[in-house]
């Protein structure tokens, strides 16, 4: 048997030197005259171990990491092709605690298979969901997705099945499935990982969505900051077309479905669904007023399903194992699993897929291992630039849509960014306003003007000018933005601002007092 070596080509692994490791391994193989197959897989998401190289042995896979190019010679010397001992030896990847503790449903194959091998995809349960879906009526597929309790993983948490039902019930000569892959929230990378590590699961999910709603055309709108994901998706669509997964007859059925990958142009607001639709149409990415809902009048005025990458990529497992199986995970009205992205100043950073219900403290302290700087955790921002900053006092909050809303926060796209005690929360609040000002589409006044006034007012606070008056002004401004903005950009910017003010009041005290307190 020719040995197989898995070296991730995931952006995160590449950023940590995976390409140099791959080159070193290839040249070492050539030098030693060993024949082996190098597979460029995605990442399993344990980024503190990347680049993580795996070898397929008679006793299953053995992982080594984090591998540096300088380790490669000694890896060969220790017989790593048969799982030999080495200082980078990690053992079976599924037994690595960070990975063993997870419930991998959506990410079951990510980092395991060759992302562009449809054969490998099928061997690991791929296309089973689509095959099951093809045996059902569209209404029955929609009913399964509704029954599973799947809610929009982009952040809004709207029930996916209800969205699909609206599109199914709307008459249209042409309908679209649009995948929102404009993953702009800092602290999130789940969409990128799945597109780079298991692109077929997204294609399968979108195809099921098409069959369920009567849509024949899909678009994936990927942000331009993700060139590797764009390249991978384009290649995967090509493979899927050749294999008859996409095209005039999906897997030989009477259904037609095809899709295109489109690239954004660096506008954060295009992650908002209606701005994304305008952008796809070739316009400025301006937010649309709702109604009409995209499900009624979406892309080019046609009925459109617009879902996040993870929502769509979770559909195949639901159709494969059944709604009841998926629904069994989770808590309250948050069913199934959620890929939590642990980021920022964190020792064990990466993607952790788990059923809803873990507390924030478990995620940050037990799984993440605290800060990488070794200093105490001061604040954790959950849900991207529009998410609230949580203090340690709220670490008992369970990861659940409603529980986070009850604490004036949101889980958003499930990214969490950890800050140590050197963080200045006034600076973070100011950044939230500044970011909103940079990225506002400009259509509504509270967002366009409010964010700029917010920056100015927080600057006055920092300078110690009429602190009480200006603090009241920021609070009032946040209230206006929250209730008066057209979309979540202006509407949610108050979350990071107000949570900073509420939970870290000392950081907003006038400068002399702040200095004295330190």
């Amino acid at each position: 048997m020719i040995p197989r070596i898995y070296i991730p080509a995931d952006s995160g692994a590449l950023a940590l030197g995976a390409e140099k490791v791959a080159k070193a391994i290839a040249s070492e193989l050539a030098e030693r005259g060993i024949e082996a197959k190098i597979v460029r897989n995605g990442s399993r998401g344990a980024y503190f171990l990347e680049p993580m190289v795996e070898v397929a042995t008679a006793n299953g896979r053995i992982a080594y990491g984090p591998v540096k190019p300088s380790d490669v010679k000694s890896l060969f010397d220790s017989g790593f092709l048969t799982g030999g001992p080495h200082k980078r030896w990690l053992g079976a990847p599924d037994k690595i605690p960070f990975l063993a503790k997870q419930t991998r449903l959506t990410f079951a194959r990510c980092g395991v298979i060759d992302p562009l091998s449809l054969e490998s995809y099928k061997k690991h349960g791929g296309l089973d969901g689509l095959t099951n879906a093809l045996a059902l009526t569209p209404a029955a597929i929609v009913a399964q997705v509704t029954e599973s309790g799947l809610r929009g993983r982009g952040g809004a948490g709207f029930p996916t099945g209800i969205k699909w039902k609206t599109v199914l019930d709307t008459v249209g000569d042409r309908k679209y499935i649009v995948c929102n892959a404009d993953e702009g929230d800092s602290g999130t990378f789940a969409d990128r990982m799945i597109m780079e590590g298991d692109p077929f699961v997204l294609i399968e999910g979108m195809t099921i969505a098409g069959i369920a709603t009567g849509a024949t055309k899909g678009f994936v709108y990927v942000r331009s900051e993700y060139p590797h994901a764009v390249a991978m998706m384009n290649k995967a669509v090509e493979v899927a077309r050749k294999a008859g997964v996409l095209g005039a007859s999906v897997l030989g059925s009477p259904y037609t479905f095809d899709m295109e990958i489109r690239v954004g142009a660096g506008a954060y607001v295009c992650g908002e669904e209606t701005a994304l639709l305008d952008s796809l149409e070739g316009k400025r990415g301006m937010v649309r007023a709702k109604p009409p809902l995209p499900a009624h009048k979406g892309l080019f005025g046609k009925p459109t399903v617009i879902n996040n990458v993870i929502s769509l990529a979770s559909v195949p497992v639901i159709m494969d194992k059944g709604a009841a199986f998926y629904k069994d995970f989770g808590m309250g009205r948050s069913r199934g699993t959620i890929p939590i992205q642990i980021a920022g100043n964190i020792r064990y950073g990466g993607l952790f897929e788990a059923a809803f219900g873990m507390t924030l403290g478990e995620i940050v302290d037990d799984i993440g291992g605290g800060t990488t700087t070794g200093r105490p955790v001061k604040a954790v921002q959950v849900g991207g630039p529009l998410g609230a900053y949580f203090p340690r006092a709220l670490f008992d909050t369970p990861f659940d849509y409603e529980a986070f809303a009850a604490k004036d926060g949101l889980i958003g796209h499930a990214g969490i960014v950890v800050f140590d005690d050197t963080a200045d929360m006034l600076k973070q609040a100011r950044f939230a306003m500044e970011f909103c000002a940079i990225e506002s589409c400009g259509k509504c006044t509270p967002c366009r003007i409010g964010s700029t006034r917010g920056v100015e007012t927080i600057d006055k606070l920092a300078a110690g000018i009429e602190p009480e008056k200006n603090l009241a002004l920021v609070t009032d401004l946040c209230n206006t933005m929250k209730f008066g903005s057209l979309c979540a950009l202006g509407g949610f910017t108050p979350y990071p601002v107000m949570s900073s003010i509420t939970h870290f009041p000392d950081d907003f005290k006038p400068a002399p007092v702040r200095v004295a307190a330190e």
């Binding site: 952006s11 995160g12 990378f189 055309k217 489109r262 140590d420």
Partner: protein
């Protein structure tokens, strides 16, 4: 600095790109991406050609080009260095990273060095948040930036 192509040349190359992509649904962004890839920026002279071909006003094309951060009105340096300034990287000292790069290169954000070697830009998230602070040099991703890596980057763009 790269030579600016003459306007007739811009017209003919732009027309070729439009012909290739015009059949797409919502072709404007793909066309603009194609033009930027061809010229390194979106030349003013290309705008009326696009407007004419897509039967929209020149103002509409201008509106779209200026809305998106990615489209450049002038060519960038030979290298483009994007440094993440979003929250995750902030938590790992991206402010200091940016300050050091500005000092080493002698330019600010959105500026190009006088010798045309590099353009420095902020970016808001590269999706490398578990290996912050991060940057992207000519499309290649770099994580866990430290002084050593910054020196390597600066040496590379200067070479």
């Amino acid at each position: 600095m790269p030579m600016q192509p003459a306007s007739t040349e811009i017209t003919s190359r732009t027309t070729a790109i439009i012909q290739e992509l015009k059949g797409l649904e919502g072709p404007l962004l793909p066309i603009l991406h194609g033009i930027q890839e061809e010229f390194g920026h979106v030349p003013q002279d290309a705008l009326p050609v696009i407007a004419e071909a897509l039967n929209i006003s020149r103002a509409e094309v201008h509106g779209v080009v200026t809305f998106y951060h990615d489209y450049r009105s002038h060519p960038a340096g030979r290298h483009v260095l994007k440094v993440c300034q979003a929250e995750s990287c902030q938590s790992m000292g991206s402010d200091a990273i940016a300050a050091k790069l500005k000092q080493l290169l002698g330019i600010g954000f959105h500026e190009t060095t006088r010798d045309g070697s590099v353009t420095l830009e902020p970016v808001y998230c590269l999706g490398l948040c578990a290996c912050s602070p991060a940057a992207m040099l000519d499309g290649e991703v770099i994580g866990r930036l430290d002084d050593e890596k910054l020196d390597e980057i600066v040496a590379e763009v200067r070479s």
